[in-house]
């Protein structure tokens, strides 16, 4: 029999070993049951009242948004064209850290084009916060952008100096242009905002998102925001119908100034057709950082423990019973035995993990919805959403990877007690330390240890505003770390298998 033919037989042999030890079979089923069970129980311990928040603004698609800026506008009916030149845009210098009363906090750098100080022109469905809009703007650090309805963004030139901007409305579409000299125009994009009545508000505006500071560690996290303001000079304002311009703070910015606070108050001054506008606030998506998919997968931590035990025992029990000598007599090429074990264990654990993850999602999401995780802040996640599928599949891969690392460590140490303890500590230790460590320092722990795999459970982008350290890295980075550990553990195990007597 050639070696090529014998590998499937080897796989079958290892599968038979895994399947026929009743204690392991029960533990594997138990891993799925533990995952689903703990997720189900813990879901009722999650509660949010975010939808009851008084400052909550929803966009045209029902999603949570921020819509705060200073708007100098007038009413226009029908097709129209607005052209302005943004002569300058200045904003407050950033401070890296701030003392917000309870210790030092780190500034959160948000690279999103929606989180930049900006001066631009806008067509908006009235002045109600959250209403449909399309805008073209010069940002402080990311050049020119066209945006609409709090989610769409088209990048224009990277120009940072004075820039001519133009919005053209024609029926239900709005086209954005930019120009360096007001003569040669480049098109940026075409928008079709969701609600665009025939009479709209049109004008120029300044926004400046608040500086967000976060402090985490010691098992908790807190977020604080300091309003910032930006100032821009507009000239060469050209609108076909010449009405009068009216300056107004939209959204939170308006509420703050009504209360008499000078922070957050915007203003406009006019001199010889040139306008100087000071504005504050953010126009863009504002989803909560909490992740419903992650919250539905709490049980994974329990399932992992069971899988680690099976993974380690799949290796060590052969040594304890002297079986390994028989195994190697049957298949002298030890690397192939290790490969077969890893494939069988990895595949089985992946399926167990997938059952656990999907089961958790299906059972825990309805409970979370009862606990306040509902639209608009938390739109109902569907099993078929790209990000949900990714989270569930990568979580199963994470669980399989950890089981295979357990196998590798089991081969290396040959002792169940030591191998199980080390593997569990490798997963749980960095999580606990990472929760206690302050600031962004646990990031490196997540990039280097198996605990980073927990990042696979998140369907939302990474953030440093949460207590859980694995939220700091992305899911692909997390599974990459796990893959590196699998390679490392199997590599060492293979090297030791060849070197040592059985």
């Amino acid at each position: 029999m050639t070696a090529r033919e014998s590998f499937p037989r080897l796989l079958l042999a290892e599968w038979t070993k895994l399947r026929s030890v009743s204690r392991w079979a029960i533990t594997l089923l138990g891993a799925a049951a533990l995952t689903v069970g703990l997720s189900y129980l813990a879901a009722s311990g999650n509660k949010t009242d975010i939808n009851a928040h008084p400052n909550f603004v929803t966009g045209p698609r029902g999603e949570p948004v921020a819509d705060d800026f200073y708007f100098v506008h007038q009413q226009v009916t029908g097709d129209t064209t607005l052209t302005v030149r943004v002569a300058s845009l200045t904003h407050e210098p950033d401070r890296d850290a701030a003392d917000m009363g309870s210790g030092q906090m780190t500034k959160l750098d948000d690279p999103s084009p929606f989180a930049q100080p900006a001066a631009g022109i806008m067509i908006k469905d009235g002045t109600r916060p959250g209403s449909s809009y399309a805008s073209v703007m010069l940002t402080a650090a990311q050049g020119v952008h066209m945006q609409w309805d709090f989610h769409a963004d088209r990048k224009g030139s990277t120009s940072s100096g004075a820039r001519w901007l133009r919005l053209v409305r024609s029926g239900n579409t709005i086209t954005g242009y930019e120009s360096a000299d007001g003569v040669a125009w480049q098109k940026i994009g075409t928008a079709t905002p969701k609600n665009l009545p025939s009479t709209v508000e049109i004008g120029f505006y300044v926004s400046s998102p608040g500086a967000v500071y976060t402090s985490r560690g010691g098992g908790g996290s807190s977020v604080g925001e300091r309003p910032t303001s930006a100032q821009a000079a507009f000239d060469n304002v050209q609108l076909a119908s010449g009405g009068t311009w009216h300056g107004e703070s939209i959204g939170d910015a308006g509420r703050l100034s009504e209360k008499g606070g000078d922070r957050g108050s915007g203003r406009v001054t006019e001199a010889n057709g040139a306008y100087t506008v000071v504005g504050t606030g953010k126009v863009g998506p504002q989803p909560p950082d909490d992740d419903m998919v992650e919250a539905a997968l709490i049980g994974v931590i329990a399932g992992l423990m069971a899988l680690i035990a099976v993974g380690v025992l799949f290796a060590t029990s052969e040594y304890r019973r002297g079986m390994i000598r028989t195994t190697f007599a049957a298949t002298p090429r030890r690397g192939r035995v290790l490969a077969a074990k890893a494939i069988v264990l990895g595949t089985t654990s992946f399926l167990v993990g997938l059952v656990g993850a999907v089961g958790s999602f299906v059972l825990a999401v309805p409970i979370l919805r009862k606990q306040g995780f509902t639209a608009p802040a938390f739109p109902e996640p569907s099993l078929l959403d790209g990000s949900v599928l990714r989270a569930l599949l990568l979580t199963a891969a994470f669980m399989a990877g950890v089981a295979v690392v357990g196998l590798g460590i089991g081969v290396l140490l040959r002792r169940s007690a030591a191998a199980i303890t080390i593997t569990i500590v490798l997963v749980l230790g960095p999580l606990i330390v990472g929760m206690i460590l302050p600031g962004t320092s646990p990031k490196w722990l997540m990039y280097t240890t198996l605990a980073g795999g927990m990042a696979t459970q998140r369907a939302k982008p990474p953030t440093i505003t949460l207590a859980e350290p694995w939220a700091m890295i992305g899911p692909w980075a997390g599974i990459g770390v796990v893959a590196a550990w699998v390679a490392l553990a199997l590599g060492f195990a293979w090297w030791q298998l060849r070197r040592r007597d059985a």
Binding site: A42, E294, M305, A417, I420, M435
Partner: protein
Amino acid sequence: MNAPRALRAVRAEWTKLRTLPSTGWLILLTIATTVGLGLAITGSLDYTHCDTPCTLDTTKLSLAGVRLGQVGILVLAVLTATAEYSTRTIQPTLMAVPRRFLVVLGKLGVLAVLGTAAGILAVAGSLAAGRGVLPGNGFTAAHGFPAPSLADDLTRRAAIGTVLYIGLITLFGAGLGLLLRDTAGALTTALALLYGSPIVATFVSDPKWQHRIHRFSPMDAGLAIQSTRNLAAEHIGPWAGIGVLSVYAAAAVVSGLVVFQLRDAR
């Protein structure tokens, strides 16, 4: 050999444990990890980076190494109960001492003494390390941080409580080992209960549930007694916390004993 049978059983178990090289290493590991991690934590503190007023609980932080160090004694306790099953020496053991209650008593007695002894050394080492390092980092009596001393009621309570904690963890591990007769199962269960529950608590966002999980998780409840400042921030009272851990240990030991009495050894 006219010594009472119980004493002979204890002596037999002591001989078994004493002659295993791993016993010494695991106890050394417990002490070294506890003291070492405590030293690393206290060494990294700096008074100048602390808020004013500085509310750090230096005693609690000096003793925090036990959170990792307990793994050594836990492995020892589990192995003491389960290793005889994997090597089949449980049969000669039961032939020599047919009264199973005495066998368990012997194992638990020896383990309790070893665990407590390791606990005393680990706590003494951690506090001494804290005393040595903390003043150099600005935590001086002038700043409101007198050196941790057993003359202080709260520090003494924290020290005694930590020793008790290690002793109870030892019994908990041995009980689980007897109950499950399987090293892997018992260790996995114990580690998941100890380390998994605090992680689940941070996952959960409802403060009421967080509070409940912290109250009833063996490690968080059992180590609440280490607190010497801001006691109200703990989720459970010091002795009530030790009580919770005692319930875990007692449940494991009693069910382990019942199962051991009823089941055939194999």
